[in-house]
Amino acid sequence: MREVAEEILRIENLHVSVEGTAILKGVNLTIHRGEIHVIMGRNGAGKSTLANVVMGHPAYVITEGSIFYKGQPLEELAVFERARAGMFLSFQYPAVIPGVQVGTFLKKSVTSVRDEAPKGRAFRKELTAAMEQLSMDKSFLSRYVNDGFSGGEKKRLEILQMLLLKPHLALLDETDSGLDIDALRIVAKGINEVAVDSACLIITHYQRLLDLVKPDYVHAMINGAIVQTGGPELALKLEDRGYDWLDVTA
């Protein structure tokens, strides 16, 4: 049983284009605190575009419709303000920042988002605990951000940031891609921890993450729009039957 929780994200009739090409064509979606939503779809359906446009990527242009975060229109907020307001995107392809150590980056990021420098000892404790949970060795902290990281290491660093930043809205863009089953378990544990008190939007191709993270809603996206919404059973059905049965244009 769940009471009606606070609305975190509301997307209304969202149309988005990139370099003049329409990618999203009328997306509607509302997510409340404590809910886990999953978006599945083929490559090119617009899933990553949705995550990036919510976070404010400058390459994506909203041509119609609106996005609201906690009732506030997002267009008023710069990317860093979205982060400071509690939004988080786990990147499909996190950028490499040469010469910047992970430890420095995490501390500065946490400082920016929380708007105060975390206390040295308390922060170290928090960091150590989160890293242990994700089975990350301390040596990660002195490596450069995503520089020479394997796919799995990059995803773990994304989840580590999510655990530290404690977002109210977590957008996870194919965080499960390229992970072996052990890494997937570790990442799922992190997502479940954050999901208790946040709104989660998970973008994935695969059902297997959903054995470990229980979604409240599963949405099928085709050609820039959500065409079907259901519970966990929809994910199984999509895995089994593909998307053709939903695709009116096929």
Partner: protein, 468 residues
């Protein structure tokens, strides 16, 4: 402070200036008489006067370099420069005895504080001469000599006579001739055999007056098996007229010795910084130039190493930041003159807001030098469309056994990097600052921590308002 000065200063933190309270100030302009007057004022031995005069005549005859930034070089008005300015009659051993204005300036620059915390000795030069000098007693007891160059000449004339100008003769280039003619101040450092100086020693060069010419002369000799880390910092007030800083730095590392020379040059953007730095490394000796160029109007500086003895090693790590109206023409020169010598050159540059950075490098391996190895890495980061970066590498390889690597890259900050950092709460400026600090990291990690932190802060400030 006048409005005009304020306009020029902009974001430059060290652009303030003191009132000019000189005890001796030469009229602007240069002549043989000025050269002789400087020597006489300092009561120098005749041989030094003679070198100065020869150097002056060479300077007059020598044409301006026809490379680098000729337009800016030819704008230097040698007649409007003040060639000697004494602001305190004595080089004091206690900060309490330094005139208040000057003492306050060095306080603002954090020198006395750094000295107490982590330095083995300090020379603070203000205009033409050192106003403060000290060395830790334990170093003095070990026989380490650390003096300003004028005192060095007075107290150890034989050593100076033996080595002065041997690494960089006055005829090397127009500006080494100028420096030799009018030099004043700088450091003389001698480390006896087998002594390792653990704490760095520092020299700080401050220009205060308008149209000032600062011509310090530094000579460092590390005797067999010794080692030392010398750190140099420089700043100046911002004026709308130009100043000239033209130093000559000679390093000699005897067999098995090691000298590390670190510079963070942060001159205001009205200073011409035309410096000749060269080192000789004897058998199995190591020379490390760690050279940071953040400020100035035009910097032309190529720290060099002559690898004279077998097994000697050179390390040159340099960074240059060229902002609005700045040209950093920097690089490194390494001459492999003996077998089995090795060198490693890392050069990093950033250009922003129309700034220009150039890497100019020379790598030479002589025919008789076999088994030499060298690696050169040049990376340039360009922050906007108006800025510029060039590379002028020269290689003269006379021996086929040489093992050489050369990597060069030019990159831009990607929008994906900025978006990634901004999605983690960084403002656009802060994101740019972090990326720039990361780019310079191979340099900053070689600096003492206090300097590294200061440099990072400086670069973050430079990135403010960089996007627009």
């Amino acid at each position: 402070m006048t409005d005009e000065a304020q306009d020029v200063i902009g974001d430059y933190r060290y652009g303030f200036h003191d009132p000019e309270n000189s005890t001796i100030r030469f009229d602007q302009g240069l002549s043989e008489q000025v050269v002789r007057d400087i020597s006489e004022l300092k009561n120098e031995p005749q041989w030094m006067t003679d070198i100065r005069v020869k150097a002056y005549r060479h300077f007059v005859e020598r044409v301006m370099p026809e490379w680098g930034n000729c337009d800016l070089l030819n704008m230097i008005d040698f007649e409007s420069i003040t060639y000697f300015l004494r602001s305190s009659n004595k080089t004091e051993k206690s900060w309490d005895d330094v005139p208040d204005d000057i003492k306050n300036t060095f306080n603002r620059l954090g020198i006395p504080e750094a000295e107490q915390k982590w330095l083995g000795g300090v020379t603070a030069q203000y205009e033409s001469e050192a106003v403060y000098h000290s060395i830790r007693e334990d170093l003095e007891e070990q026989g380490v000599i650390f003096l300003d160059m004028d005192s060095g000449l007075k107290q150890f004339p034989e050593i100076i006579k033996k080595y002065f100008g041997t690494v960089i003769p006055y005829s090397d280039n127009k500006f080494s001739a100028l420096n030799t003619a009018v030099w004043s101040g700088g450091s003389f450092l001698y480390i006896p055999k087998g002594i390792s100086v653990e704490m760095p020693v520092q020299a700080y060069f401050r220009i205060n007056a308008k149209n000032m010419g600062q011509f310090e002369r530094t000579l460092i000799i590390a005797d067999e098996g010794s080692s030392v880390h010398y750190v140099e910092g420089c700043t100046a007030p911002s004026y709308s007229t130009d100043s000239l800083h033209s130093a000559v730095v000679e390093l000699i590392a005897m067999e098995g010795a090691k000298i590390r020379y670190s510079t963070v040059q942060n001159w205001s953007s009205n200073v011409y910084n035309l410096v000749t730095k060269r080192a000789v490394a004897h058998k199995n000796a190591t020379i490390e130039w760690v050279d940071g160029n953040i400020g100035s109007k035009l910097t032309m500086k190529y720290p060099s190493v002559l690898l004279k003895g077998e097994g000697a090693h050179a390390e040159v790590i340099s960074v240059a930041y060229a902002g609005e109206g700045q040209h950093q023409d920097t690089g490194a020169k390494v001459h492999h003159l003996a077998s089995n010598t090795t060198s490693n050159i890392i050069s990093k540059s950033i250009s922003k807001k129309g700034g220009r950075s150039s890497y100019r490098g020379l790598l030479q391996v002589t025919p008789k030098s076999s088994g030499c190895r060298s690696k050169i890495v040049c990376d340039a980061l360009i922050l906007d469309e108006n800025s510029r970066s060039d590379t002028y590498p020269t290689m003269e390889i006379g021996n086929s056994t040489a093992d050489l690597e050369h990597e060069a890259s030019v990159s831009k900050v990607s929008s994906d990097q900025l978006f990634y950092l901004m999605s983690r709460g960084f403002t656009e400026d802060a994101a740019m600052g972090l990326i720039v600090n990361g780019f310079f990291e191979p340099f900053t990690r070689e600096l003492p921590m206090e300097y590294a932190l200061e440099l990072n802060k400086l670069l973050e400030l430079e990135m403010e308002g960089s996007i627009g």
